[in-house]
């Protein structure tokens, strides 16, 4: 049973990353009509910024949790201003191709300087060690990742669904022209949205650094799984993305325990099943 709980925990952690990443993809898609293929690359950048902060500046994990998303978010906003904004009005597929190119550039540059092997990033002192819960041993850092991710996801949900700013955002998703007529700077909102989505990915990168090591290609395969998560959950609903992300992580964890050979493929197989049974995705409208 210990092993089962351990795999469940791993599943919850992967689920946190799926949730944070698919949440960002959904928010970006809503405003920019772009599927951000560079999402895996910015996730990796988040982890690298944390690594640089610690090893070059001696700045610890807690500051990295704040600084990395901001730095990477600003980088994302520059990308949006200089490149992505020119795609407005074009076919969706150009956004996918452009961001795929950006991902190749970012990952290629990091691979040149850091190879393909992982760099270690140690767990901060305050979160070292574990707790005995009676039925299992819980490493504190892993518990922290799950809870913190959940809080961030819910905060994002609250921001978008319950605040004035979120209302503007949702309105601009529906009808940008009308929202501009009310005097709201929609282009700036689009830039900030992209920064927010990218920042969430970078945050996930920082969280994963002590668990998965820091590797240039850490986001390359992850993003494909997240695409499958997005296909399953649909991008219509923020809460839908969060729940689907965590749920699929848990299912993947269970698969690792009961049938490890299929743990790499279970999310894709579920995607196929969902497409056959309910082609629009679990929460989404038809796109």
């Amino acid at each position: 049973m210990q092993a089962l709980y351990a795999q469940l925990l791993v599943g919850l952690i992967n689920g946190s990353f799926y949730a944070l990443l698919s949440l960002g993809l959904a928010v970006i898609f809503g405003m920019l009509n772009i599927i951000n293929f560079a999402h895996g690359a910015v996730y990796m950048m988040g982890a690298f910024v944390a690594y640089f902060l610690l090893n070059l500046g001696g700045i610890n994990y807690w500051w990295a949790l704040i600084i990395a998303p901001i730095v990477v978010g600003i980088f994302g906003m520059i990308l949006e201003r200089t490149m992505l904004q020119w795609l407005a009005g074009l076919d969706h597929l150009y956004g996918l191709l452009l961001t795929f190119g950006i991902a190749l550039i970012i990952q290629g540059v990091f691979q040149n300087y850091f190879g393909s092997s992982g760099l270690p990033y140690s767990i901060p002192d305050q979160l070292k060690g574990g707790m005995n819960l009676g039925f299992m041993f819980l490493p504190i850092y892993r518990g922290w990742v799950v809870i913190f991710s959940l809080v961030v996801c819910l905060a994002t949900w609250f921001l978008i669904e319950k605040t004035q700013l979120g209302a503007y955002l949702r309105a601009a998703t529906e009808n940008p022209t009308l929202v501009r007529a009310f005097g709201i700077n929609v282009p700036r909102m689009i830039t900030l949205t992209y920064g927010l989505g990218v920042g969430l990915a970078a945050l996930a990168g920082v969280l994963s650094a002590p668990i998965n090591q820091v590797r240039p290609l850490m986001g390359a395969d992850l993003i494909i799984v997240v695409f499958a998560v997005v296909v399953i959950g649909g991008m219509g609903s923020i809460m839908g993305s969060i729940i689907t992300g965590f749920a699929l992580g848990v299912i993947e964890g269970l698969t690792k325990y009961f049938y490890p050979e299929a743990s790499n493929t279970v999310v894709f197989v579920l995607m196929v099943v969902v497409l056959l049974v309910k082609p629009t995705g679990l929460t989404g409208r038809a796109a």
Partner: protein, 322 residues
Amino acid sequence: MSALTDDTLPMTPRAMRDEMIVFAVMTVLLVVVPWTGIYPFFVMQALCFALLACAFNLLIGYGGLLSFGHAMFLGTAGYVTAHALKVWALPPELGIVVGVAAAAVLGLITGYISIRRQGIYFSMITLALSQLLYFIYLQAPFTHGEDGIQGIPQGHLFGLFDLSRPMVLYYVVLVGFLAGFLLIYRTINSPFGEVLKSIRENEPRAISLGYKTDQYKLLAFILSGTLAGFAGSLKVFVAQNASLTDVHWSMSGEIVLMTLVGGLGTIFGPVVGAFVIIAMQQYLAGFGQWVTVIQGVIFVACVLLFRRGLVGEIAHYLRRSL
């Protein structure tokens, strides 16, 4: 959805004549290549990728469907052909037939699943399906995992042509490429191709005119996958191995890149794009990961600056359709 094709012209006798001339020039050039001292293996490899890119272009350029998983056809047909030649000791022609048949079946299954969603979701689904296959091939015993299938015997095609001789192999690959190319050309200009273009331009309207668009899309997907598989089977004879790189997502990205560089929705664009990208990889092989970076830069430049691609820009300048 019409951004792809702002200058598609209806098929006129003049356009037909232009295309015939370009096709004749291309064929003559490819026929004389082995006597020019250019490394034949480079051209053979480029021809396989050119056919692959043309097959991909049939979907994106004429059906408006961006498949981000076309490597799965290349790799599947490659593995099956390699296995048939090496383990079952089938002659080359049967090896190609089983490889292509496997790609066709895969096209039927994955097409049935992926055309259930449109636009950007279609791309994500094809990418995810090819990743699923990647992991299956990684674990399946017959693919030999990371090592791949190596040392594949080339054999005698129809018992007559010795494929281990580079010259013979070159012309066999060339005939295969030209046959595939002409089949695609014929498809594009057939009534089926016209319906496909109408789906790309405005699917709801095509549906309202009574076309069962899902069937057309599925058929186009199977045809594209089958021809991509044919390219994969031919490639086995050239490379004499079948490995995981052929199924990896980065290969799917390269197929997209070749077509984008040459020109989406142009007839000759994918061929030009394949030669450009393969040549670039050849000359930049010493630069390690910078090749990835350069590919990324080309992607970005193509999307932002010249979406028509090389052939598309030339055709636009000449006011012709190529």
